[in-house]
Assembly symmetry: C2
Homo-oligomer: 201 residues x 2
């Protein structure tokens, strides 16, 4: 029986599916708008499995969804940091990825960290911290790319903060107006700031 | 009796208070996290008054709260447009206002348009449009200031989009990490972009 159930090692189990479903639903409806029953249904998981896998309830499930989102969000920036892509190419890659996600998904899904901050930053300290960690990790990766491009450490941190802020805000604008134009504007306006300083002046 | 009820023209009536309460609670908990009972309680309004004043239910109440937020949000930028303040001073005024709001309010309240987008952009078309209108109005005012500073219309629109995105994103970051440093970074990095073009080059 076990052999049958695990015959496809690629197929995620119910626990994994619930974490992924929570992440997807939070991106679409925020944290407050997602009920545990929604997650179980979306993940096609057995009814009683939530309590079994997530004894810490919704906070545990959302925290795990944010931890997974952290891994996903860092993939583009982390790849840029690892393969020597410069900061300008990194920004374009980040924007391209969101542009595709928005147009492929009918503008339904945004950033899960933003969704968490807006809904529960004032009401759930554990989730506020999970969102803060996810955002800080991304900035840390981006700052590393900027430092390698020649920006001094303090300036790199400041620019990484601006890049993240601008992309986050553009995502809100894009979902509000159902258009990728805000992402285009951010990319167009910020790319000149990312020219390596040794070349720029 | 009417005389008694309106004896203090400064005191807002229950309808006004409910719209203000909805706005405040949405800023703190998002749209999905705010129940109609919460609004009635926060506004100290009579229990049955909600149905009386807002026959359209939660969507009507939230739409009116967003319309009021639109007026409030445009105050700083609109003042800059009216009194001849340049774009750099406008950005600093916007950032200063949010910095004060965050530190005075224990980082509990963010932008109600952001809260609406994150929670219901995919699920409530009327509220998505209300948020889009609020965001567009602010950008329109900011672009007018930039044009008066000498930026060509297209560039002014693009820069206004970036300014809004960066401030929105910085608000998310600030609430996540309970610090105004992200607003400082955005202001520091963007001010140089706002030097009137005739002077800059």
């Amino acid at each position: 029986m076990t052999l049958v159930m695990t015959s496809n090692p690629e197929a995620p189990g119910p626990r994994d599916r619930m974490v992924d479903s929570a992440r997807a639903l939070i991106q679409e409806r925020g944290v407050s708008g997602v009920g545990l029953r929604d997650v179980v249904a979306h993940a096609q998981a057995p009814r009683g499995s939530l309590q079994h896998y997530f004894p810490g309830g919704k906070t545990q499930l959302v925290a795990e969804a944010l931890a997974r989102a952290d891994v996903v969000a860092r993939a583009v920036v982390g790849a840029a940091a690892a393969d020597g892509t410069g900061a300008a190419a990194m920004l374009s890659a980040v924007v391209a990825r969101w542009r595709a996600a928005l147009t492929d998904g009918d503008y339904a899904r945004g950033c899960p960290f933003a969704a968490t901050v807006v809904d529960v930053a004032a009401g759930n300290e554990a989730l506020r911290e999970a969102a803060a960690t996810g955002l800080a990790d991304w900035r840390s990766d981006a700052a590393a790319v900027l430092r390698r491009d020649g920006f001094p450490a303090e300036r790199a941190a400041s620019l990484a903060s601006l890049l993240q802020a601008a992309v986050q805000g553009a995502l809100l604008q894009a979902r509000a107006q159902r258009s990728t134009a805000p992402l285009d504007a951010v990319e167009r306006e910020l790319l000149p700031l990312l020219a390596p300083p040794a070349v720029a002046r």
